[in-house]
Every structure is written in C-alpha cells, then in structure tokens.
C-alpha cells in the first residue's frame, strides 16, 4: 500500500464520515434529552435532501431566468441554509405529532412510532414525486486538485468543511447558550427540568429542529457529492449513523460525531483491503467488537436515569 493511496482513502473517509457524523448528531441529541431513538431520523435526512433538491432547483431557475442575479456560491449557501431551516420544521412536526403524546409511554412504542413515521415519509415521497430517481442539480463545478499525488475534489473539501463547521457551531451552542444548557441539564435529569421554569415542550422541539437541520445539511451535501436521490436513500445511512451514535456513547453528542467519522474510516479502509461486498459485514463486526469492550460506547456513562421526582 502506497502512501498516496493511504491518504487518498483518508480523504474519502473524511467525506464519508461527515455524512454519518451529521446524521448521528440528531440521533444523539434526541436520545440525550428524551432517552429515545428517533428511528425516523434517516428518513429526515432523505427529506432534507429532497427539500435541498427543491430549493436548489428553484434558486437556479430564478438565477437562470434572470429574476435574481445571485452568484453561484450564494446559491450554494442559500440552498444549505434554507433546506436546513425548512427541514427543521419537519423535525418539529415529527416531535409534536409522533413523540410528544408518547413521552410517558414505554420506549418500544416510541421506537415503533419512529419506524412508522419513517415509512410515512418514504411513501409520502413516493406518492408525491413518483418512483423515478431525481438528479440533484449541480451547484458547483467539480474541480480536482492534486496534492502530492492525492486527488481532492472541491466537493469533498466542501462536505468536510461544512460538516466540521456545523459541528463546532453546535458544540458552542450546547455549551454557551441557555438552550444548550437546558439540553445538557435534560440529559442529566429531565424530570426536574420543569422546576427550573424550563418547558420541555420548548426544548424537545428545538432539539428535533436542530437535529433535523443538521441531517438536512447532510442531505444537501450528499446530493452534491452523489447527485442521485431516491426515497429510500435514508434507510441504510440512517441505520449506520444510529450505530455511530451508539458507538459514540448513548447521549454523548460530540461522541456521536467522532464515531461517525470513525465509522467512515472503518468502512473505507475495510473496502480498501477486502472485497467491497464484505464491507458492511466486516465493518459492523469491528463495531460489535468495540462495543463488547466498551458497552457504553466511547463517551457514554453507565448511569441509571431517574424517571420521576
């Protein structure tokens, strides 16, 4: 294995891991405050990608028809921002209709509801747009740079930088703002949070909104990197991001992001060595082996949540 080959794969793994990380954040955030996994989250990524498709198409139409002369980079930025914003409402609705009524129900009910919402989003998409696959409009001209024999495209740089930027922003939000503080408090003991004058009905939708917005950013970036969209595109990637969230440590937000990147690395490097048909099998065996030694993931703590006052 040559050095350049190795670094080529590092670059690929960083991009691949970015998608997992962006999606895993939403799983981890919701889990950390409500102790439930939102199994519709992979499909929210899909919805985000489709919303991105719509926004990008609309903006490009406005530009090419001469209504608003926007520079290309601005179309890109606006597509990401508007898609994140719109998809966050999908998250809010999912929380409101799907999960809020089940807040005190057994966790299995919430899991089934999540799967159901996922199916609704998939079939809703099918009903609305039909079975044909969509081509994500090209928002940036592909350009390839060669650095010491390693080929890096501007799209990969974009994916990785935007993802890392969003993660750092989220980290600051969770650490510095009062809403972030409330989220951290909820992750420790959500029962007492109302006694602080904080409404869980504010923090929960906010958390879903942020998680969904990040998934939408992932969806748009995914569309830019792999411009074919289909209604089931969120399922497998969603499950893998879920695994990353577990690997990071249930409820550990930044742990989930790091584990997302790690999973990207594992997959890419497994595919580098073994036949790619075995990729998922071997990658997941590695994940299982890690979890055998660290059952709470990398940053998770074995704690028993207090369920009542």
């Amino acid at each position: 294995m040559t050095f350049t080959f190795f670094f080529q794969n590092v670059v690929n793994a960083l991009q691949w891991g970015s998608f997992y990380a962006l999606i895993a954040l939403g799983y981890a955030m919701v889990y950390s405050i409500l102790m439930l996994f939102n199994f519709a989250h992979g499909d929210i990524f899909m919805v985000g990608s489709y919303i991105g498709f719509g926004v990008a198409t609309g903006l490009l139409y406005l530009v090419t028809s001469g209504f608003i002369p926007l520079p290309h980079w601005l179309v890109l930025v606006l597509t990401i921002v508007i898609s994140m914003f719109l998809t966050s409402f999908v998250g809010v609705i999912v929380e409101r209709i799907g999960y809020r009524p089940l807040r005190n129900a057994p966790r299995a009910s919430a899991a089934i509801t999540g799967l159901m919402i996922g199916i609704i989003l998939e079939t809703g998409n099918l009903a609305l747009l039909g079975a044909r696959r969509l081509n994500f409009p090209s928002l940036i001209m592909s350009r390839t740079y060669e650095i010491g024999g390693v080929f890096v495209t501007n799209k990969k740089i974009l994916v990785v930088l935007v993802s890392i930027g969003l993660m750092l922003a989220l980290d600051q939000f969770v650490r510095k703002t009062k809403w972030g503080m409330a989220m951290r408090a909820m992750s420790y003991d959500f029962v007492v949070v109302p006694l602080m004058g904080v409404s869980i009905d504010v923090i929960a939708p906010l958390t879903f909104a942020i998680g969904s917005g990040l998934a939408a950013a992932g969806g748009v970036l995914y569309g830019i990197a792999y411009p074919i969209l289909d209604p089931y595109m969120g399922i497998l990637i969603g499950w893998k991001a879920f695994v990353a969230a577990i690997l990071g440590g249930r409820g550990s937000i930044m742990g989930a992001a790091l584990a997302g990147f790690l999973l990207g690395f594992i997959e890419i490097f497994v595919a580098m060595i073994f036949p790619s048909t075995l990729r998922d099998l071997i990658a997941f065996s590695i994940v299982l082996a890690i979890l055998t030694f660290r059952p709470y993931g990398f940053f998770g703590k074995p704690y028993s949540a207090k369920l009542r006052l």
């Binding site: 503080m181 951290r184 109302p194 004058g197 409404s199 006052l309």
Partner: protein, 237 residues
C-alpha cells in the same frame, strides 16, 4: 390566603398517597409538614408543583388563581413557587454557576437576577468559591446550599423545601436553617417538609402532622412541640 389547598388527593396507580388533605399557607409564613417515611410529605409538595397529577375534587388556589390550570414550569415562572426536591436533584454535569443560571431560564428581569445571584453568594459564600466547579463534585453540604440557591434563583415568592436537613451534619444543619430564616425574613414564604420534626417545628411558625396520607394534627409550632401525641410519636418521647 396565599396558598389554599382543599381535599388534595393523589394516587400512584393503585397506591393512594394522599386521601384528601386541607391546608393553607399565608404570605410570609414558615409552615412545616412533618411525618414519618411514606406519609406523603414529598407527594404534597409535588402536587403543589404540579409534578404529579391530582385526583378529581382537589382544589388548589394560589393568590386566588386555580393552580390546576398551570403546568409545572408555569408554577415556577408565573406563580413564583420554587421547589427544592427530595434528594436535591442538581444537574451534576453542569457547573454551580450553570445550575444557578439555568434556574433563571424563563426570567426576564436581568437586574434583579444579578442582585439575587449576589444575594445567594453572600448567604452561601462557598458557592461563589466553587462557581466553576461541576455540581456533581460538590460535598453534600455544598450540594444542599446549591439546591436552595438554585430554587431561589428560579422563583422566590414561595419556596417548597423537601427535607433540607437530609444528610447534613448537625452543625451544617443549623447553619442551613439560619440561611433559610434569612431568606424568609426578606419576604419569601416557606413551606417545608421534614422528618426531623424538632428542627422543623423550631424553625416554623405553624405545623401540620401528616400520617399515611391524612393530616391528623395542626397548630402553632410551640403547641405542637408540647403536644403529648406529637412528643410521643415524633420527638422521641
């Protein structure tokens, strides 16, 4: 009457915890509810905070308002009733300062918040020394101070205190009650539940005795301290 509770009934599934109790708290008072393990003391406070559902027929009014219309967070932010829960329940992953700030989440009165914070740091100087430390690493006594200070920061018209003496050495216990007396002198009404009946009755002006979900005796603290039944059951003869 500031707080008026009539026929308060609470059940946990099939277990009846409160069988319809009546009590009142007036503005500026210190009132205590004493009783043995499992009598329903904590449940009473949870009911006022709206943290447990009450049963049909229960009436609770606060300054003439029907409390049953309020959600837990509104009891704090709109009615001004704070609650130091059983077992303190601090956010161990947040610093002392963050615990206090979080309690002001719904408050808009910036100037007053600053004043209140200074007030708490002057009553509990230890908290200021430890303000950047995670709450989970505080000693038991410091945690109790933080629990009281945090509740005060959230609302201060009325404070509900669930066993503030629990787990404190006798000396710390006394200084904790001195601090509470100071808070009370500044106009906060206090409703306290305690297993340590002697301490509670010395601190409070009035008291109620709760026995397996029923209020059996009520009166002025000095009368209760001299009541033969109370003496026998709660004050060690």
């Amino acid at each position: 009457m500031l707080l008026e509770v009539k026929n308060l009934r609470v059940s946990y599934g099939n277990i009846k915890a409160l069988h319809g109790i009546d009590f009142q708290v007036d503005e500026g008072e210190i009132v205590c509810i004493i009783g043995a393990n499992g009598a329903g003391k904590s449940t009473t406070l949870r009911a006022i905070s709206r943290m447990v559902e009450v049963e049909e027929g229960t009436q609770m009014t606060f300054m003439g308002k029907d409390m049953l219309k309020y959600k837990p967070e509104k009891v704090v932010s709109e009615l001004g009733i704070s609650h130091v829960p059983e077992g303190r329940r601090l956010f161990g992953n947040l610093t002392v300062m963050e615990n206090l700030k979080l309690a002001t989440f719904a408050r808009k009165d910036k100037e007053k918040i600053k004043k209140d914070m200074e007030r708490m740091f002057s009553i509990f100087p230890r908290l200021e020394e430890r303000k950047n430390q995670e709450a989970g690493t505080l000693s038991g006594g410091e945690q109790q101070m933080l629990a009281v200070a945090r509740a005060y920061m959230s609302a201060q018209r009325v404070m509900l205190l669930d066993e503030p003496s629990m787990g404190l050495a006798p000396k710390l216990m006394l200084s904790m009650f001195d601090s509470l007396a100071e808070i009370s002198r500044e106009g906060t009404t206090i409703l306290l539940v305690e297993q340590n009946a002697r301490l509670a009755l010395k601190f409070a002006q009035r008291g109620y005795v709760l026995e397996t979900g029923n209020l059996v005796i009520e009166g002025k603290s000095e009368d209760l301290l001299n009541d033969p039944e109370v003496k026998k059951a709660y004050l060690g003869g």
